[in-house]
């Protein structure tokens, strides 16, 4: 068992290699605008660190968001293409679940809590969780479907629950104080995937966009010099 885990739904470009028992190697780069640059080099780096080659990987887990679309797609297409090229399964994990898992596993939260991440446009992606310990293994049970809302709307429903993720740092007066991790860790994403697979759950690889696309057509920029922008065909 060699699971390659990838998440690009938050500011971190996160990649990890998990052998089913422990994390063999991990890379995390905070660079919210340059997901495309970091993912592939991170994959080769974790493979090198662990002394493995791409051919040794037996499955891929990927964060399916919610998260800013452009970055999210970089991780998802990387995962699906890698799985296709190697002929191995690809599993989708709600990225908020990875943050929740880390918060519980590291003891940052107890009882009920909320995970809130940056959705841009003054909104957050969020879901409510309960910390549990089943058979001694810490886990986070999701109580609500992932949603996108204004921080004020989330604040009204907090009911004193601590907030995990970057959302609490971005909107401290509404969602603070912040608890647990800020961005997704691929190691914890791997743990969530392994837990779910162990329970026989199906993990579809469907992006959680939660918003319809903006329907404004692109207007190719008007070049004054030679660097011609490009639109259709």
């Amino acid at each position: 068992m060699l699971l390659l885990a990838i998440d690009t739904s938050t500011s971190a470009i996160a990649v990890a290699l998990h052998d089913g028992r422990r994390v063999l190697a991990e890379r995390s780069t905070i660079d919210a605008r340059h997901h495309t640059e970091h993912v592939a080099p991170s994959i080769t780096a974790v493979l090198d660190d662990a002394g493995h080659s791409a051919a040794d990987v037996t499955a891929v887990a990927v964060g399916v968001g919610p998260g800013p679309f452009t970055g999210l797609r970089v991780g998802m297409v990387t995962a699906t293409v890698f799985g296709h090229a190697r002929g191995i399964p690809v599993h989708g994990v709600c990225s908020l679940d990875a943050l929740a898992h880390e918060a519980v596993a590291t003891g940052a939260v107890q009882g009920e809590f909320v995970v809130a991440t940056d959705a841009r446009r003054k909104e957050v992606y969020w879901a409510r969780y309960a910390a549990e310990a089943a058979d001694g293994a810490p886990r986070a049970r999701r109580l609500t479907d992932p949603a996108v809302d204004y921080p004020a709307t989330v604040a009204e429903q907090l009911d004193g629950a601590p907030v995990v993720g970057r959302g609490a740092v971005l909107y401290p007066e509404l969602l603070g104080p912040q608890a647990g991790p800020l961005d997704v860790s691929a190691a914890h994403l791997a743990a969530v995937a392994l837990q779910a697979l162990g329970e026989g759950a199906a993990l579809p690889v469907e992006p959680l966009y939660l918003r319809r696309p903006d329907a404004a057509p692109s207007h190719p920029r008007k070049p004054v010099t030679q660097a011609a922008p490009h639109g259709r065909a």
């Binding site: 495309t36 699906t80 011609a228």
Partner: protein, 349 residues
């Protein structure tokens, strides 16, 4: 390297087509395309987020289809090439990430290449090795460029480009004025066949004295588009029917006249004997006909790939990637970015 010649897979996602092509040396094995154009039609233009979503959905199925049709296994590939720019940023990123992932998963080199240079290179798989130098006229919804191409793998020079609307954009906008559907190119072409191309004297942008000094090989289609709109509106105001065929034919004639006139002039002044036309507008029948006439008269050989290879596709990216391998160019770094405004002079990322 399998069977002596490099087997290269190219990925193109700079706009609304998810293209995957496979080339062996200079032979095209497959050109698989998934287009989201229908989803954009009701908006009258390409919606970037819709295009990006479609690229993610279509990527693996298109890769699969390309391999099946070509009878090639991914494991047989010698290199991957991908459009790294210019284009829509979010759309490019899906293709670049996919290409990198393939390169890592298969352990093969990656070439990030320029979309415009790929439009030129595609003719190699259609008509054989590219004469050097070649002059290329690239006309589409996104670009109108005259390029001097001494070597498509590393030396592409820009002689001029549109200073406002791209040629294809003008076709789309005039089509809208005439009540014809998006994309406008094929509909204008069809309507023009029923019309008289000298019925209305529309302006030829940047062809007069001063402009020919300052913008010798540049294009401008914005004034033409406005002139057409004014003419049509005046007709409508006077209550007379709009002669759609005549307007389409006269507009098309004005565009094609300027494009071919400047392309032939550029060939002459640079001592180039070969002209290639690419981009979606190269499918226009009047452009092909007038270019042929003028090239024949000037002793220039004309190469135009078949329409399916003129529009955006993966084959052109694979074709350029294969040239990179054949000419021994070094691969790109795995950290290469998607560059939405990649200059045409940068062939490789």
């Amino acid at each position: 390297m399998s069977a002596d010649l490099p087997l290269v897979l190219g990925i193109e996602t700079s706009c609304d087509e998810t293209g995957v092509g496979i080339v062996r040396g200079e032979e095209l094995l497959v050109d698989a395309i998934a287009s989201s154009v229908d989803e954009h039609a009701r908006f009258g233009g390409v919606v970037p987020e819709v295009a990006s979503r479609a690229h993610l959905e279509a990527m693996v199925p298109t890769l699969e289809r390309a391999c099946t049709q070509a009878g090639v296994r991914l494991a047989d590939l010698d290199a991957i090439s991908v459009t790294s720019g210019p284009g829509l940023a979010g759309a490019l990123m899906v293709g670049v990430a996919a290409a990198k992932s393939l390169a890592v998963a298969l352990g093969v080199p990656l070439y990030g290449v320029n979309h415009l240079a790929s439009h030129v290179a595609v003719d190699i798989v259609e008509h054989g090795p590219l004469p050097e130098p070649t002059l290329a006229l690239l006309v589409s919804g996104g670009h109108s460029s005259l390029l001097l191409v001494p070597d498509v793998t590393h030396d592409v020079q820009s002689l001029g480009s549109s200073i406002d609307d791209a040629a294809g954009e003008a076709f789309d906008k005039v089509a809208r004025v005439l009540g014809l559907p998006f994309p406008g190119g094929p509909h204008i072409d069809r309507a023009a066949r029923e019309g008289d191309s000298v019925a209305i004297d529309f302006p030829r942008g940047l062809t007069s004295g001063r402009d020919m000094e300052r913008h010798r090989f540049d294009f401008s289609f914005s004034g033409l588009k406005t002139a057409v709109a004014r003419w049509v509106e005046a007709r409508e105001r006077s209550g007379e029917p709009v002669p759609v065929g005549d307007v389409a034919a006269s507009f098309q004639e004005a565009v094609v006249d300027v494009l071919t006139r400047k392309a032939v002039l550029a060939c002459r002044e640079n001592g180039v004997e070969h002209l290639q036309i690419g981009g979606g507008v190269a499918a226009n029948s009047r452009l092909r006909a007038m270019a042929q006439e003028r090239c024949d008269a000037a002793g220039i050989s004309l190469r135009v790939p078949r329409p399916g290879l003129c529009t955006d596709n993966g084959a052109m990216v694979a074709a350029l990637g294969a040239q990179m391998v054949l000419k021994g160019r070094a691969p790109s770094e795995l950290s290469l970015p998607a560059d939405s405004s990649m200059p045409v002079t940068a062939v490789q990322a």
